[in-house]
Amino acid sequence: MDKASLAIIPADIPPTKSATLPQISTEQPSILPTAAYLHIPFCQTHCRYCDFAVTIGTEDLIEKYVQYLLQEIAFTPTELQGLETVYFGGGTPSLLSSNQLERLIDALSKRFGISANAEISLEANPGTFDRAKLQAYQRAGINRLSLGVQAFQDHLLRLCGRSHGVAEVYASVKIIQELGFDNFNLDLIFGLPEQSLADWEASLQAVLAIAPTHVSLYDLIIEENTPFGRLYQTDRPPLPTDEETVEMYLKTIEVLGNAGYEHYEIANFARPGYQCKHNRVYWKNQPYYGLGVGATGYVYKQRVERPRNLYEYFTWVETGQFTVTESVTSQEELTDTLLLGLRLTEGIMLESLDKRFGKSLVAQMLHVLQPSIDSGYMQVIHEKMQLIVPQGFLFSNEVFALLT
């Protein structure tokens, strides 16, 4: 970490009084985030498509990590503004013991406050929890679960190097439903090697049978430094062709739409009223804390990043300093707002943009985006700009490329 880019914000002094802080607009009462992401980097096995920095955790290492995470929370700037959303992501957060999770939620509550009706999500992998543990999580405050299912075919799960089979998926779903978690998400991936359209349709039917409130469905991205990256080339066998994965995506929209799910973001579907509040914070380009190894936060209009290596993270925490970097410019903020906001089906209200960035900057951006309107990827109607489903989503990078 570059020492020059660090500034010290003592944990016990309200940060707005520190001379080292950037200028804060006086219009808003607090610009500190009401959303917090906590990264839990441990996994039982390393999935073959994943390029996240994850570690096969031992009990001792997980406990050490939790203690460091608690320390980081303790020096993160706060105004006791109250968190509206908390998200435990990973890695596999369900590897935390119930006691560890309780301590983390307790620390968040003490440091920032947690609203009474806050959304508190946790990602879990099938086979990593039993009924007792999940019940304890529930008592600790978890009210939304996201289950990493990925596929409903054992051979595909094995190929991905997942630590569970289809049977564990159903066992986990049963526990979740029996405990009365009414808000839960299933994560699935399409475009896997050797996956057929029939496999994918079967997975979609399995999802409908389980009837979760939320479904995330990702088109596989082949990352360079992964076993998949070394084995496979996009659009080449045994990966499905682009034609086939587009077919899978269109099928998804059709099947889930008919079943009453709202397609509210490129890869996300929800029952009315069950959109993920936490993720909407990202897509609305609002501030959030990013806590833990490799996490990125958006605080004081600064994109701050924690070290991606666990031991470097430990060293960083030991310095006890909240990292301060350069704030994004107004131009960058507008670009980010568009890049993220256009992922939502609802699009972006022009009025809100004009207010935030000024009419001329927004008009300039609309001009830059004109080619995507001409191509039929985007539309501006009723004072709102939005991508056209599905073409606009399928070619969203073509639209976004105009902005960078």
Binding site: D242, E243, T296, R303, L339, L340
Partner: protein
């Protein structure tokens, strides 16, 4: 500067295969004679171009003057004249050898004699040089000096009774080498009183002093301030600066027969002071120039185009500057329907081409699209007119062609026995005509074929190396033109012919090449917003076709909080990738596609 009689001058060069330790030995000689102090020694002093050092080869030669007090108590001047170590520069090698009376033949004691070494030894023998065999890397566990001595004796017919066993790396045998040079290499002829004849063996362009010319005085003497004439180019200059190379330039007032030195004379470009030309005095000229001068004839041509058409002028300036220093580089503007404005460039060979491209990209920061290399075809038209065609796009149509002739080379490969079969297969697949096979030693064989040059400048060398697991070596020389049943294969993208993708090929192979080439292009050209047909055609007849399916999506499925920075980087990377592509009509074509014909695997 010590003035030394001609009888105590020795001029020599080092003949060695790449990696057999020439540069290390040269460094060691400089160190032991105290020419360069240990402190000044950067590894491999003689190769001072980055690209040379990276590739471990010498492209431009250099020279070094050493003072050595021999066991007889006398002080000798030893001039080491370095030679370039690649087949593309045979002529330059022959001129630097002509400036010497002797040569060290350095052979890796664990490897043996390679084709390139053999070719250069023949050049040395043609120039009547005294050859001193040196077995290098004698300290390595795999060294087999006896076997290698046997090999040298059988292959070259050289008496190796006194072969020196050395290790340049460990400093073994270095004094023996120096003594041997003094005793065996004959002194130059004492022709000091005759008119000046100095042989140019190298020249390079210096931005401040103009061309610096390296030469060996063959007869007479030359002084600072002399008015001189280059006998072939006819250009006259006054010497601003005269000196010797130690190996840094050190000024002197006079050099006489037998000595090696440099001059600066405000010469504008190396073309005015070509290797092989003879320097004489204007006031007392020699009757005739030294024998052996040759014009540089480019053998390999390709189109060089800036990826960004705004860089055309920059490319011209860069080529201008490079050619100040490279008399063999030819270029002239050409325009291509597909690639816009660029240059058709001629090179001595493939390595020369690669070096120039690399220097343009690295030293001049240009992004280039290079078309596949081509040879010069000689085309006789039905009306009797004879054309030289460097660019396949310029080939007259079949109706007006009487005959096409193409250059052939004689390829000699030296290989361990077990790879003879696969190398014969390679030569035959490249339309080679078998000439000779000789068993040099029980396990090494020389294979001679006559092969069309066009087939050699594709991936012939790479194939030779991979088929022989790196053990075979080769060299080639031009033997003339022969008629061939050749056709032009055109490539059409989206229905439009792309001139830069045309190639000339043998009629019998045209269909297969068409099939492979369209297949390769399909792999290399990314999906576009629309479907792109790729066709290979001879005249109006399509011989192969493929389709690039339209782009169906460009989306990043997963994007949450922390991903935004990463996502932006990804978008920028995509954008950069697009910038490096060339717009051919409405199709974005990556640079590699223009070289695709070199990478066909049947």
């Amino acid at each position: 500067m010590t003035d030394v009689p001609v009888s105590r001058i020795r001029n020599f060069s080092i003949i060695a295969h790449i990696d057999h330790g020439k540069s290390t030995l040269a460094d060691r000689l400089l160190q032991i004679t105290g020419t360069v102090s240990n402190r000044e020694m950067t590894a491999q002093f003689l190769d001072n171009m980055d690209i040379e050092r990276e590739r471990g080869i010498t492209i431009k030669l250099q020279a070094a003057r050493m003072e050595y007090t021999a066991k007889d108590g006398e002080m000798y001047i030893l001039n080491l004249i370095d030679t370039p170590g690649h087949v593309d520069f045979t002529y330059e090698v022959s001129r630097s050898l002509a400036a010497c009376e002797g040569a060290l033949l350095v052979v890796d004691a664990s490897q043996g004699v390679e084709a390139q070494t053999l070719a250069n030894v023949y050049l040395a023998l043609e120039n009547d040089l005294e050859i001193i065999p040196v077995l290098n890397k004698i300290d390595l566990p795999g060294a087999e000096p006896e076997r290698v001595i046997e090999e040298i004796e059988e292959m070259i017919g050289l008496d190796c009774t006194d072969a020196i066993r050395a290790s340049a790396k460990e400093g073994i045998g270095i004094l023996d080498i120096l003594e041997s040079i003094v005793q065996k290499v004959p002194p130059p002829k004492d022709t000091v009183s005759e008119p000046l004849q100095a042989l140019i063996f190298d020249s390079y362009y210096d931005a401040y002093r103009g061309v610096i010319v390296y030469f060996r005085v063959m007869s007479g003497s030359v002084r600072q301030g002399d008015k001189i004439r280059f006998m072939v180019s006819g250009k006259e200059f006054e010497i601003d600066e005269l000196g010797v190379l130690k190996p840094n330039q050190v000024r002197v007032s006079e050099l006489h027969a037998g000595e090696v030195g440099y001059i600066a004379a405000s010469i504008r470009a190396v073309q005015d002071a070509r290797v092989g030309d003879t320097i004489t005095q204007v006031s007392r000229p020699a009757a005739q120039p030294l024998a052996g001068y040759q014009e540089a004839t480019p053998m390999v041509f390709c189109g060089l185009y800036p990826t960004d058409s705004d860089q055309f002028e920059e490319l011209r300036e860069a080529l201008d500057k490079l050619s100040l220093n490279d008399a063999a580089l030819h270029f002239e503007p050409e325009s291509s329907g597909a690639l816009g404005f660029g240059f058709r460039c001629g090179f001595l060979g493939l390595l020369h081409m690669e070096v120039v491209q690399e220097r343009l990209e690295r030293e001049y920061d240009l992004d280039l699209v290079t078309t596949a290399p081509s040879v010069v075809y000689r085309v006789t038209k039905t009306d009797g007119e004879v054309l030289e065609v460097q660019n396949p796009a310029d080939l007259p149509s079949a109706q007006v062609r009487e005959m096409i002739e193409e250059p052939y080379v004689r390829v000699e490969a030296i290989t361990p026995q077990e790879y003879v079969g696969t190398l014969m297969e390679l030569c035959q697949g490249r339309r080679g005509v078998f000439v000779d096979m000789r068993y040099l030693t029980p396990n090494r064989t020389s294979l001679v074929y006559e092969v069309p040059l066009a087939e050699v400048i594709t991936d012939f060398f790479d194939q030779l190396k991979s088929r022989s697991r790196g053990y075979a070596s080769m060299e080639y020389k031009l033997i003339g033109y022969r008629p061939g049943n050749l056709v032009r294969l055109d490539i059409l993208l989206n229905g439009e012919p792309v001139d830069s993708l045309s190639c000339i090929t043998h009629a019998d192979k045209a269909h297969e090449i068409g099939r492979l080439l369209t297949g390769k292009l399909k792999e290399l050209i990314p999906r576009q917003q629309f479907q792109v047909p790729i066709q290979a055609a001879i005249g109006a007849k399509v011989v192969a076709r493929e389709n690039i399916a339209p782009l169906r999506k460009n989306v990043l499925a997963k994007c949450y909080g922390g991903d935004i920075t990463r996502k932006k980087k990804l978008l920028e990377k995509q954008k950069k990738g697009k910038k490096r592509m060339k717009n051919v009509g409405s199709v974005e074509v990556p640079q590699e596609a223009f070289m695709a014909v070199l990478k066909l695997e049947s």
